[in-house]
């Protein structure tokens, strides 16, 4: 088991390095570097070439690219992601200010997706071809086709015109400070994200259930006289959990960085919106840091999923032995 985890971690290291190289060089493609952007923003184009060179030297922009990359990644290893020029604070501080919101949003959304998706998927699979199945599949198709930012807009529209309330916007209130207001802020955005994801979850659950329900041990369980419920939940669903765990894990990874649209619609200051604003404001250090952080999270969650996977199915950990 330990050696399995160790092996997995080892294979992730090249991926992490690759991600950091990709992020660094994509952001470096941005026309005009940090200096010209800063000068443009402050409207003082009157720097002499010498002063500009000094600035470049100060920010390390006069060094070769590989050296710049090594300096940057060396800093990252020490927890130094650089300084956000626009926000005038360390990048890591900006990330940690906004990340809790996105993390909570993602967890809530995942929870809702599981609560909506799995029961409907199981129900669909128990009576394939029935009216319930048809409705279930229609809902999943709808969930897959609804743009989440449109759904969010419609929810706000509905809340304000029918119920005359608006979702709580503005500063994020941590759950432990005021649970009610916190949920009031995040409930609707989380539902928007969760519903979108419940579509693929329904499909996977249904497909997996249909497959397992055809297995011999299900027939055995039935012939022993077990009730349908016990068969579906204890035997079929349990064995079908693996693909569902994988899907949920991947989705969690995507949710931690793919919430920008919903954060924008509901005016939530999460890490998605932080990245988006940083791109608009050409705050390169922040873009670099935030994108790297999100991608690292994704890889980390993948690692976690692999681990869960090997717990759920011990055969996997011993596959290579």
């Amino acid at each position: 088991m330990t050696s399995f985890i160790f092996r997995r971690i080892l294979t992730f290291i090249p991926t992490l390095i690759g991600i950091s190289i990709l992020v660094f060089f994509v952001i470096r493609q941005i026309p005009g570097d940090a200096i010209t952007a800063k000068l443009g923003a402050e409207g003082s184009g009157s720097l002499t070439p010498e002063q500009e060179a000094q600035y470049r030297a100060y920010f390390g922009l006069d060094k070769p690219l590989t050296q710049q990359y090594l300096d940057w990644i060396g800093g990252v290893f020490h927890g130094d992601f650089g300084i956000s020029e626009v926000r005038r604070e360390p990048v890591l501080v900006a990330i940690f200010k906004t990340f809790p919101l996105t993390l909570e949003l993602a967890i809530l959304a995942l929870f809702m997706a599981l609560v909506i998706g799995i029961p409907i998927g199981v129900l669909s699979a128990t009576r394939p071809g029935s009216a319930i199945d048809f409705v279930g599949r229609a809902v999943s198709l709808l969930a897959l086709s609804l743009p989440n930012f449109w759904m969010g807009t419609l929810i706000i529209l509905l809340l304000s015109s029918v119920f005359h309330v608006l979702p709580d916007q503005g500063l994020y209130i941590p759950f432990f400070e005021d649970p009610l207001r916190n949920l009031g802020q995040l409930l609707f955005p989380a539902f928007t994200l969760g519903f979108a994801f419940s579509g693929s979850l329904m499909r996977t659950t249904r497909a997996v259930m249909l497959e397992t329900l055809n297995q011999d041990y299900i027939r055995t369980a039935r012939s022993k006289g077990l009730r349908d419920r016990a068969v579906f939940i204890q035997h079929a669903l349990r064995n079908g959990l693996l693909p569902i765990i994988t899907l949920a894990g991947i989705e969690m990874g995507y949710l931690l960085g793919g919430t920008v649209l919903v954060e924008q619609v509901f005016a939530l200051p999460g890490i998605g919106r932080l990245t988006y604003t940083a791109i608009l404001q050409r705050d390169y250090a922040l873009v670099q840091g935030a994108v790297l952080f999100i991608a690292f999270n994704f890889v980390l969650i993948n690692l976690l999923v692999d681990f869960l996977y090997s717990l759920a199915d011990p055969r996997i950990a011993h596959a290579g032995d």
Partner: protein
């Protein structure tokens, strides 16, 4: 049986195809400016501004008195064009990468697949945002952004069947009669690994539509006064409570288009790979 006959026998594929044909008609109308009103024409009179749907303006008008239906049709041209071009680029590039990688195998394959793994570590919208930040916002700068997102998916999909085709008897036979490797690749391997690519093409169009609409919604696609579904939704935000039609119709246009490509993709998958029937 030709593919089109099979498609017409599959219910979801047929519905999907019908929806897509309707959009293609809208595309042609928009491309040739056959719209009830010129899409960017403003009607400054108060009587024409923010009008609810009715006889003259079927989908109502916006704050400048512009006809929403005409702008939705115009948006169809933009969205479909961007999405088709970017997914086509991704499909060609990804398929080539995938089949070459799978066919050659060994270190090249491992290395390429590892590099692709890196791209999978980014949520689609974030990767697209990063690319846009490098090339700058603009109506057609969205194309490379979307192409980068979907190329790795095509590579994976195209590579999978190659692994078994590589050792198929007809490949060994071709090799034994002295056929060159690159000819085997294009004569035998490519045609036999295209089915999943076709399925993915349709599905990728649906995902790409969502990405494109999202980028436009963030204001990174076409700039006003041009129209695209995502941009219309963005502009509607300030007026949504008093004029909900501004938010409803463009969103509906996105959703139905995504639905159409989804249905077609699902149907194609049932046809080509009956075992994976969902």
């Amino acid at each position: 049986m030709p593919v089109i006959k099979k498609v017409l026998r599959n219910r979801s594929a047929t519905i999907g195809l019908v929806i897509i044909v309707v959009y293609l008609v809208l595309f042609v109308m928009g491309a040739f400016s056959i719209t009830p009103f010129p899409p960017n024409e403003q009607h400054p009179k108060a009587a024409d501004r923010l009008q609810p749907p009715g006889m003259t303006y079927v989908m109502g008008t916006d704050q400048f008195g512009r006809d929403v239906l005409s702008r939705v049709i115009r948006g169809t041209v933009y969205s479909l064009r961007v999405v088709f071009i970017s997914v086509a680029i991704a499909a060609v590039l990804g398929t080539l990468l995938g089949i070459v990688s799978g066919f050659v195998g060994g270190l090249v394959d491992t290395l390429l697949m590892r590099i692709l793994d890196i791209f999978f570590a980014f949520p689609a919208i974030l990767l697209a945002l990063a690319v846009i930040s490098a090339v700058g916002p603009g109506p057609y700068n969205v194309i490379p952004a979307i192409a980068v997102v979907y190329t790795p998916i095509f590579a994976r999909v195209a590579r999978a069947p190659v692994l078994s085709i590589r050792s198929a008897e007809y490949v060994t036979a071709a090799r034994s009669i002295g056929m060159r490797e690159w000819r085997i690749l294009f004569r035998h391997v490519l045609p036999n690994s295209l089915d999943p690519v076709l399925v993915t093409f349709s599905l990728a169009l649906s995902w790409a539509l969502l990405t494109e609409a999202g980028l436009s919604f963030l204001g990174l696609g076409p700039q006003p006064p041009e129209s695209s579904w995502g941009l219309m939704l963005n502009e509607a935000r300030n007026f949504a409570t008093s004029a909900p039609w501004l938010a409803i119709f463009p969103g509906l246009a996105i959703m139905l288009a995504v639905l159409g490509f989804n249905l077609l993709g699902d149907g194609l998958r049932d046809i080509f790979d009956p075992q994976s029937r969902m």
